[in-house]
Amino acid sequence: MIPLNAYVAVSAVLFIIGLLGVLIRRNFIIVLMSVEIMLNAATINLVAFSHYLESMAGQLVALFIIAIAAGEAAIGLAIIIVVFRGKISTNVDEMNLLKW
């Protein structure tokens, strides 16, 4: 029997990897992929607690997370296409049109 702490530790490691990816990568598409890693870490947490606490609520929220990740990917990639059409770059450092 695997302890719950093992799943939570795996989830924490994946979340920190995704957070580092958001912080240090310069390509906007890779930043979105790192957000997907963070969402997956949250999903592992929810499913693990759902199994060990014997409640279905965690799995349902995980399903909603997957649906919302699909919407987020669609909108994010559409924004990337719009930005790329105007500036020919997907570098997050050069997207500063809305910056003060």
Partner: protein, 174 residues
């Protein structure tokens, strides 16, 4: 046996996550993300959540990742020479210290709580899909409908954003 599978899935998903963040070429990052998603779905199998495994493979690996790869090929990106943020070394040390601290806390903490209303024997007997479906369409119906409206908004928003803008000069010239 279960421990072996857990160790494989956990280590492989962490390695794939590191590769996703660290690889240079965006297509390679996408393929590493595919490996990560499939190994995370293996963790779901170990947790008796086979419906979520199927959804993860179909929606994440089948739809979202294909969307990413389509956009990557559509944009035909050049690989930057410097692909990390210019001051990324300042992020690494605090992240490592924080990660070790959080991990120590998580491994030592005794998780527990009141058991819910879905015992594992019942879930194993009826199947995870049955349990998820019964719960989804009784207690979580409103959230289900809200997610449907959200997805409709996301579809319309993506189409409106990515559409080629029409030139608007014709009407005023006449």
């Amino acid at each position: 046996m279960v421990q072996v599978f857990f160790a494989y899935f956990a280590l492989a998903s962490i390695a794939a996550g590191v590769l996703t963040v660290a690889l240079r070429h965006p297509v390679h990052c996408g393929l590493a993300l595919l490996a990560l998603l499939l190994h995370v779905s293996g963790l779901f199998i170990l947790l008796n959540a086979e419906f979520l495994w199927a959804v993860q493979v179909i929606v994440y690996a089948g739809a979202i990742l294909v969307l990413y790869l389509f956009v990557l090929m559509l944009l035909n990106l050049k690989t930057d020479e410097r692909y990390f943020h210019s001051s990324y070394l300042y992020f690494l040390a605090p992240a490592a210290i924080g990660a070790v601290y959080v991990l120590a806390l998580l491994i030592r903490s005794p998780f527990g709580g009141a058991k819910g209303d879905a015992p594992n024997e019942a879930v194993l007997r009826d199947g995870d899909t049955y349990a998820v479906g019964i719960k989804m369409f009784s207690d979580y119906l409103l959230q289900f409908e809200i997610v449907g409206v959200f997805l409709l908004g996301a579809v319309i928003g993506a189409i409106v954003l990515a559409k080629t803008p029409k030139p608007i000069t014709n009407k005023h010239e006449r």
